[in-house]
Amino acid sequence: MPSFEYSTPTTVDQAIALLNQSGASALAGGTDLLIHLRAGIVAPKQLVDLSALDLNYVRKDDGIIRIGAMTTFAEILDSDVVRRDLPCLAESAAEIGAVQTRNMATLGGNLCSAVPSADSAPPLLVYDARVKIAGSDGERLVPLEQFFVGPKKNALKPGELLIEIQASVPLPRTGARFLKLGRRKAMSLAVVNVAARLTLGQDHRRVENVRIALGAVAPTPRRAKRAESVLQGSDVSESLIDRAARAAADEIAPISDLRATATFRRESSRVLVKRALTHAWQMATGETKPND
């Protein structure tokens, strides 16, 4: 383990001041960073430990759910607000690492890692989440879709800090589902992960709004907009879901790597999108409850 300085700021302003120093790196849950430090992939001069900042919360006000960036996945799983209003995010939290990982890893850390397989990304993309970023010039709100700019690259400028994740409480007649395919059931990176959200009209048939997002099948977690357009405004049906799933499989750009071939990823994406949409449909019509 290389040497570094270590600071534990207690306010966001202090943290930003420290992060503006050269060679400083933010330490959130540490489940990625400590591995990279040990392997010599990164060599910061200073670690800025964010654990003493007041960024550990799930709140709901004015129809907006606010999650502090340092909230752990275990806390997200335990949150009644998340389980009720953003069930798809709770489903993804349950699939991250194992108990130990979830007790350490944070939502902000997972998003900032910006890995294509980040499990929390597809659910937040389908909830149209925004991220609040603090810097020396103040705060800015960025749609999550614009936060991922490349493999392991996020939209943070040097010295900036992601402090909060926001999502609106979904409308009635909304169903959502997260599904992950890994090489094993725990402690595995996604081969493919998928989230889908459907909001139906008052007739319980017409798709008012739909979001489909996938991970590990492109340089960043991404939405499948062509697949969304297959459903948007139409009456939902099995065959339409089938078509949307095929469209999603067509528009992604998977690679072959250690975990799976591109062909397998594409075909798995189709199956997972179909299943996720089917679950979301059932939930939106009240046939099933979240976390069934």
């Binding site: 383990m1 199956v271 179909k274 299943r275």
Partner: protein
Amino acid sequence: MTHVIGQRIPRHDAILQVTGKAEYGIDLARRGMLHAKVLRSALPHAKLLKLDTTRARNLPGVAAVITAADVPNNRFGFTHLDQPLLAEDKVRYRGDAIAAIAADSLKTAEEALRLIDVEYEPLPGIFDPVQAMEPDAPKIHGESNIASHIKIRYGDIELGWSRSDEIVEDTLTTQMIEHASIEPHAALAEVDGRGMVTVHSSVQRPFLIATDLSKILKIPLNRIRVVVTAVGGGFGGKNEITMEPYICLLALKTGKPVKLVYTREEEFQATTVRHPYIVKYKSGVKKDGTLVARQARIVSDAGAYVSWGESTLSKACIHGAGPYRIPNVKIDGYLVYTNNSIGGAMRGFGVPQLGFAHEVHTDHIAEKLGIDPLEFRLKNALVDGSSLPTGQVLESVPLKETMRQAVQLIGWKKEVAWDEKAR
């Protein structure tokens, strides 16, 4: 009289294991002990042009650095004395040891590793054992990459082919597997005032290690003691000498206890693995499902050194025809050097690779003949008094009974629910 069969007898050491009091290799500690690290080759196949340890030796906190010149007998191996403890003129896989360091802290030892200057001349590497058998392939040791050829001949294979109605051929391959015991290899060596060397190590075969140490260190066996710690998993991977000679040499050189623990990365890179096999089967069979001839050609990827490669391949060849009565058998096993990680002992010792291969092949034959795979096996299975291709006569073979019970237990041929719609 005490009855133990059918009783729950707790492990005698379980109480230490569940309370965290069992002392494993990684838990060893002595006052004033030094920490060792091993410098490993960065290239899979290269000439060593230059090895300069001066800068490492001069780092404060470094107690000793050893290279090939410090090893009294720098060759070891079970069937082939082909492996240097520390590389001499060349390195043969990415992980070959080049030098070892003892320092007052692990951090210093790690830093010193980076101060050893090595200059390589890369040589073409060979990573596919079939290619390595070609006459013009780059050579890893001496004249040929074939380290060993094992032959078994039984009956008359040509006669077998002529009596066959069908010939079925298959090529099956198995992958490299790391033992991945949760405890990495770990050991501590100490030398007392009389020059008595004691090694505490997380190993499976202490006497073999003592014998090897005696040869490598050129110290009589009665002056070497190997004490086995609690072993955090072995599976064959702690069946052979690994780090013990380095720490013994460093302890002898410094007079201090020396401890070494491999990192998880070293476990994968520099300890042995299960040999990958390429198995070519050709079987002759009558229409009624009677096996009459089988030929097997087994290519085992030894990696850079033989280690247990010949022993595991011998066992694989003995089992090469599978558990079937076949009157005409021809088996050829080739152990081939490559620049891959070294194969060694692992659960089943060469046989699981063959088990996979001959059973897939068996299913394939049954399918071609349109015979139920279970019936096909029962028809040809070894029975009491059967002879193996080696000539060994088997006395008690409960194979058929085992198969019959197994198919009942697994619900053979029961329908499995399959949700077509979910796809």
